[in-house]
């Protein structure tokens, strides 16, 4: 590499960092004040990009048209964010934090379909920035003038934000609320209005980040989740709630990505290293490294203990044999109904129920929320597929070994994860999932790349849908029974105690991390079993079995059913899988329908479905007594 090409990559990276910084700063601002991890933030970015596309087409491709289109798109996205806060989130601020997360998942689904409806499925390539199209010559290389403008916008916005936060009453209130929002309310500040304004500001930043990308990146429907993953990484690397931290982290990651593209493939000591393939994982590698060295990010500090007079989690009730029988008997008889379609659906549900139950143990009783649980499901699926197709093992052996592979991945990933807690832990799990996904997606020669693996069919004796259903049911029931056994063993009690009062456990000499690590491996292996079962039931698999979308599906299942009950995640898995199937057969816009259903449930039953039904039953009993 020559000096001039290094400089060009540096400038490229800085230009890419601008949008990354804007969207992350917005996320950080919103999280700081409201403590909501806004999964829909990437969707707002996507709306900004689409909005800018349409507005610029309307206003004309002139400098005035371009810049007013960008500004108006950002403003409209800001209004959309404020609307989400007022219409949805404001109603559930008193609900458990995870429920707010669930609501933002639902918003992601709805916005994706709004974009699909309004702009269609094709990528939209926006105009180059009028007046800034001419490339600038630096040494012997060329770089678009627009990129240089972008490089300036990052620090400019940082400066404006800094002035707003330190020189205005609004900024003072925002910083105070970031530390102790209850005290701010006790001093007479209307939290609702403050939150709405913060959502507006944060969403404007997301929209602006998206709109400014229009000359560099086509608008497409995958942006929502890919951008939210990037923004999480930047926020966590920089330190949650630290805007200068987000700026630093965005630059680090933007530049690292640009260099990976720029370096391309090189020979080092005879080994070929494809740096360009690293672009998808480099940010996650940086994040893993930073979090190990500085667990709260570059400029972050240990999170302020936000006070809330919330209720403690209710005790879990071990399920009785009678209840289990009531559920199992009809399931065993299900194939007798003779509906092949129903059997296939029930097989799916069995896989996802085990998947959701494994996620439930780690996020509920063990108190470690995972945003990337699909990693283990997917690694299980890939292990099964690869052992079967490439190693030529019999299907039974592949199925039996797959959970070991997933458990092994959990052993490695978990070692890092248990060193963190809360949102940082969740983001790290997401990072590991994304790394796994990238490997599956890019390693064409081994994993089949984006095509995945086909011809993963079960052995002859399991070839009928009914036989396979019984296998799935047996594995799922066995796995769930094992999870529940563990939960009510002394091991499970330690995990729960660790969630409720980690310090007390440490004080009596319990090494909580080892328990959490073991729990990671256990749920990883079981999620892997679910993934392997799923792969053989479909006959093929693709990188989507490790996608963020699948991780969020699992979170939705658990949260929909309710974290505070054992049967909740199973009910959630069944409802979600069935509903998606029903809706997807009827409309192209099944995501929006799912999102609206989830929102309705969130607003009506803030304790989750099973919790809500239990509360209803209790009220009904009391009314009769």
């Amino acid at each position: 590499m020559t000096w001039s090409s290094i400089l060009i990559q540096l400038l490229n990276g800085l230009a890419g960092a601008a949008s990354l910084f804007l969207v992350s700063a917005g996320l950080s601002l919103i999280f700081g004040v409201t403590r909501i991890v806004n999964f829909a933030h990437g969707s707002l970015y996507m709306l900004g990009l689409y909005g800018a596309y349409t507005l610029i087409e309307t206003f004309g491709r002139t400098p005035l048209g371009f810049w007013s289109g960008v500004a108006l798109a950002a403003l409209l996205v800001g209004l959309a964010g404020a609307l989400i806060e007022v219409a949805i989130l404001r109603r559930i601020y008193r609900a458990p934090e995870l429920f707010q997360l669930l609501a933002t998942f639902a918003v992601v689904l709805v916005i994706k379909d709004i974009a699909l409806f309004a702009w269609g499925p094709e990528d939209l390539v926006g105009p180059r920035a009028p007046g800034l199209r001419t490339p600038v010559e630096i040494f012997d290389k060329r770089i678009p003038l627009y990129d240089l403008v972008l490089i300036g916008i990052g620090p400019l916005v940082l400066g404006i934000l800094w002035l707003l936060l330190t020189r205005t009453r609004w900024g003072t209130l925002v910083r105070a609320a970031t530390q102790d929002r209850e005290m701010v309310a006790a001093l007479g500040v209307d939290q609702a209005r403050l939150f709405t304004s913060v959502f507006f500001a944060g969403s404007v930043l997301a929209g602006l980040g998206g709109a400014l990308q229009i000359p560099r990146e086509p608008a497409n429907l995958e942006l929502d989740l890919s951008v939210i993953a990037d923004a999480f990484v930047v926020t966590v690397v920089g330190g949650l709630g630290s805007i200068p931290g987000a700026f630093l982290a965005a630059i680090m990651i933007g530049v690292a990505k640009a260099f990976c593209i720029g370096i391309g493939t090189v020979q080092w000591f005879g080994v070929e290293i494809a740096f360009s393939k690293l672009t998808l994982v480099v940010e996650f590698l940086i994040m893993g490294l930073v979090l190990i060295i500085r667990p709260y990010g570059l400029l972050g500090r240990p999170p302020a203990q936000q006070r809330h007079s919330g209720e403690p989690a209710p005790p879990l009730v071990p399920p009785g044999w009678k209840v289990a029988a009531v559920w199992l008997v009809p399931l065993l008889l299900l194939p007798a109904a003779g509906d092949r379609y129903l059997v296939v659906l029930a097989t799916d549900i069995a896989c996802f129920a085990l998947f959701a139950a494994s996620l439930h143990l780690i996020m509920g009783p063990a108190g470690m929320v995972s945003f990337g649980h699909a990693a283990y499901f997917g690694i299980g699926a890939y292990a099964a597929g690869l052992l079967f197709k490439r190693a030529g093992l019999p299907m039974e052996a592949a199925l039996a070994l797959a959970p070991l592979a997933a458990g092994f991945a959990a052993l490695i990933y978990g070692w890092f994860c248990v060193r963190l807690s809360g949102v940082y832990l969740a983001m790290l799990t997401l990072a590991f999932a994304q790394i796994s996904w990238s490997i599956a997606f890019q390693w064409d020669s081994f994993t089949g790349g984006s095509n995945g693996i086909v011809g993963v069919w079960p052995a002859a004796w399991l070839a009928s849908k009914t036989a396979y259903f019984y296998l799935a049911l047996a594995v799922a029931a066995g796995g769930i029974a094992l999870l529940w056994r563990v939960l009510f063993s002394p091991f499970g009690a330690t995990l729960r105690a660790g969630r409720d009062s980690p310090l007390r456990l440490e004080a009596i000499g319990v090494e909580l991390r080892r328990y959490q690590w073991a729990a990671f491996v256990l749920v990883g292996a079981l999620a892997g079993a679910a993934g392997a079962l799923f792969a053989f039931s479909k006959g093929s698999l693709s990188p989507s079995v490790i996608s963020i979308a699948l991780s969020t599906d699992a979170l939705i299942m658990v949260l929909l059913g309710g974290v505070d009950t054992l049967t909740g995640p199973l009910a959630g898995a069944a409802l979600f899988t069935w509903l998606r199937d029903e809706v997807a057969r009827r409309t192209e816009f099944w995501r929006a329908v799912m999102g609206l259903v989830i929102l309705a449930i969130v607003l009506i039953f803030p304790q989750g479905l099973v919790g809500g039904v239990k509360a209803l039953v209790a009220r009904w009993r009391r009314a009769r007594a």
Partner: protein, 233 residues
């Protein structure tokens, strides 16, 4: 001015306050005494709307406030000063005061920075110091000053003397007397009987979330058995 009737409060399943009754008249300083864990702070949190009341009524200036959110209660002129101070540690003294700022209201003494610095001279020298780099006594003064920026008519003060050096406690007593002269009503939670006697007109005693005594400071002073039973350290 402030009247609490049959108030109950819970933390989760735990029943903390049972049938609490108390009253604070216009311009009066009333002490709410009790041992650690008796329910003093819980009473103030419930009155100020931070903890929902499970039953009972809170009247302030002839309005029912037990269902209002905290910011509405504060805006009616009922100022809350928490026991653990809850200073915004990243914000400077001036910024902490800014968070408390509310428009002036009729019938209440009005405050600004200059007047507050006169009340708490220690603060005047550290306008730009972050709240996290102040001593306990300075933080205690700041937390009171911050609430006063909202120009309250009645102040809920939770153990302002806790953990302070004797000299600072005296300054605090003087400040509370000044507030009283300005016409502010104060409900003062205390364990320090000596401090409470120097500023309060009347007293209540709470124990295990129930009211055990209500009367003048003089009556309490005349009854050593009462002090022995509910207050002795």
């Amino acid at each position: 001015m402030l009247a609490v009737r049959g108030l109950h409060a819970h933390y989760g399943q735990a029943h903390i306050l049972a049938d609490v009754e108390l009253e604070v008249g216009e311009g009066e300083v009333v002490a709410l005494l009790g041992r650690n864990g008796a329910g003093k702070s819980t009473t103030l949190k419930t009155v100020s709307g931070l903890l929902p009341a499970s039953a009972g009524e809170v009247h302030f200036l002839d309005r029912r406030i037990e269902r209002l959110p905290p910011h509405r209660i504060a805006r009616l002129g009922l100022g809350y000063v928490p026991e653990d101070r809850r200073i915004f540690t990243d914000l400077t003294v001036m910024e902490n005061l800014e968070v408390g700022r509310q428009p002036g209201r009729a019938g209440a003494p009005s405050w600004d920075e200059a007047k507050l610095f006169a009340l708490f001279p220690n603060l005047a020298a550290m306008r730009d110091r972050p709240g996290g780099r102040m001593s306990g006594g300075e933080q205690q003064m700041l937390t009171i000053a911050r609430t006063l920026m909202g120009n309250p008519r009645c102040l809920l003060l939770d153990e302002p003397s806790e953990g302070l050096a004797p000299l600072i406690v005296e300054q605090m007593a003087a400040a509370i007397s000044t507030l009283k002269r300005e016409g502010l009503s104060v409900l003062l939670c205390e364990q320090n009987l000596h401090f409470a006697r120097s500023v309060a007109d009347r007293a209540y005693i709470i124990e295990s979330g129930r009211m055990r005594f209500s009367g003048t400071m003089a009556a309490l002073a005349a009854d050593p058995a009462l002090r022995e039973q509910y207050l002795s350290v």
